[in-house]
Amino acid sequence: MKKEKVDVLVVGGGAGGIAGAISASRYGVKTLLIEREDRVGGVLNQCIHNGFGVLVYGEELTGPEFLFKLLEESKGDFEVRSGETVLRILKDEKVVITVSKRGITCYEVGALVVATGARERPFSTLMIPGPRVSGIYTAGVVQKMVNIYNRLPGKKAMVLGSGDIGLIMARRLKLEGVDVLGVIEIKDEVGGSLRNFVQCLRDFEIPLLTKHTISKVHGNGRIKGVTVVEVDENFKPIDGSGKFFEIDTLVVSVGLIPQNQILEGLVEFDPINGGPVVDDLQRTNIEWIFSAGNSIAIHDLVDFVYEEGVVAGRNAARLALGERLPRRKLKLVRGKNIGVMVPNYLTGDENRVKMYMRVRKTMEGGELRVQGGRVRKYNFKVRPGQMLDVVLDVGRLSFPTGERIESCEVEFHEDRASR
């Protein structure tokens, strides 16, 4: 077993981790990035479509191009070790244990940035009846097959779930010559962005079946088809609405889940985000562990993942340099209509704090409020499928005088007038 000392260790070589490593290394600390695959980039490698980096680089890039720019930015400032997996974190010792072909290594670290991304929610969690057959894949797996390994999953497909990844894969398969019969969505509107709805489905005349789901999978060995039913407002199948579609491939895109095995049992988790509770320094409740990207909460834009990585890396470096970072001062609590929300605490370290959140339902417009104060007005439709980002002017939050405030509520106030 080898032993090594590093100032900032970053786990996960996706956009979040690379941004974190760049940012930490700018402080002159010894920074090491560990990636379990044999190349860095995470999901960027397989996302060959464009739509990355408008906020960070001011131009619309494909996933691989965004990765290329990111790596250009970082030339040689930190070491990358790929093909190495982080196995365990020893909290009291400040030690991180990894395994690779080279063997087991123990890193004694000054600070740790965890950016381990997300995994896909599997089909089995939907409890849809039918035999266990082959030909059912999650969208990310199909994306990797088609865009990296040059393999098509089948000839006739349907996509379950209309989030961005489902829409993008419907288009990809269609372009590759697969007959895509439709995208099935249980809700009454498309899950992903309108832009992807237009450019992936409308452009290619792929039907979107809203208020529908799969009630049964058919087949013997390989999938032969699915029964698609209409659902009522409680998502219950409507009797007699079932229709059989003959397919050899079902692409399942029913959500991503933050991936944090190495933090389980160590840090406090936010049940709604699905990842660790963090403050505005991107710090978990363990002082030396920071987190960024899809392992905190699912983001639709790489730009936000990048921004979180920059903050995490910077503060990890400050800590590694011996600076005492401020404690959590104010808890941000979810109020009306707020779902996913990052961060959970403010320290007062920064006057302007970037917040990311999702509303719980589609609304025609409204106002984002933090403890009574207006933060931003939205005079257009807001949807759970689109993450909102706002800059919180912490210095200007107004609190009743005399009281000691420990938490404040964040709410999305629906604009009824505009309905």
């Binding site: 060959i48 479509h49 464009n50 619309e60 890039l61 494909t62 691989p64 191009e65 290329f68 088609v146 865009n147 990296i148 390994y149 040059n150 372009l175 962005s193 309108l194 832009r195 709805f197 237009v198 450019q199 409308r202 452009d203 257009f380 439709k381 689109q386």
Partner: protein
């Protein structure tokens, strides 16, 4: 979505994708006169006009690689091409083979189908060590 009512009337229900607001735009063209409603800003007007005249898109896909460390090279058109040419473009790209290595931004095909757009590489591909 385009509905041609009579030879001289075209109606389109569009969603502007220029910014996240996603305005619903209605376009109606009659005898060469175009009426556009629903856009909140001039960009939406431009978008709707383009959709009416000749909608354009960036195409992203993969081409096969010879002697590379990966089988596929991801590519894109370096400017938007007419939507109607997408299938023809895909046919061309399915049939070409590219010799590794390739750098990000290298031109793979110049001025494809006379669109003025080039097909450029979006990934770095190394030569396979054999």
């Amino acid at each position: 979505m385009k509905t041609e009512l009579r030879d001289d009337v075209v109606e389109m229900d569009l969603i502007c994708v220029v910014c996240p607001i996603g305005c619903s735009i209605k376009l109606r063209a009659k005898d060469g006169k175009v009426e556009i409603v629903g856009n909140r800003c001039p960009k939406g007007y431009e978008y709707a006009m383009d959709e009416y005249r000749d909608p354009k898109r960036i195409l992203t896909t993969n081409v096969r690689v010879l002697n590379g460390d990966h089988e596929l090279l991801s590519v894109k058109t370096d400017s938007p091409i007419p939507k109607r040419l997408i299938w023809e473009m895909m046919r061309i790209l399915k049939n070409i083979r590219i010799e590794a290595p390739k750098e990000v931004g290298e031109i793979i095909l110049e001025n494809v189908l006379n669109t003025g757009a080039n097909i450029v590489s979006t990934r770095r591909i190394m030569r396979r060590k054999s």
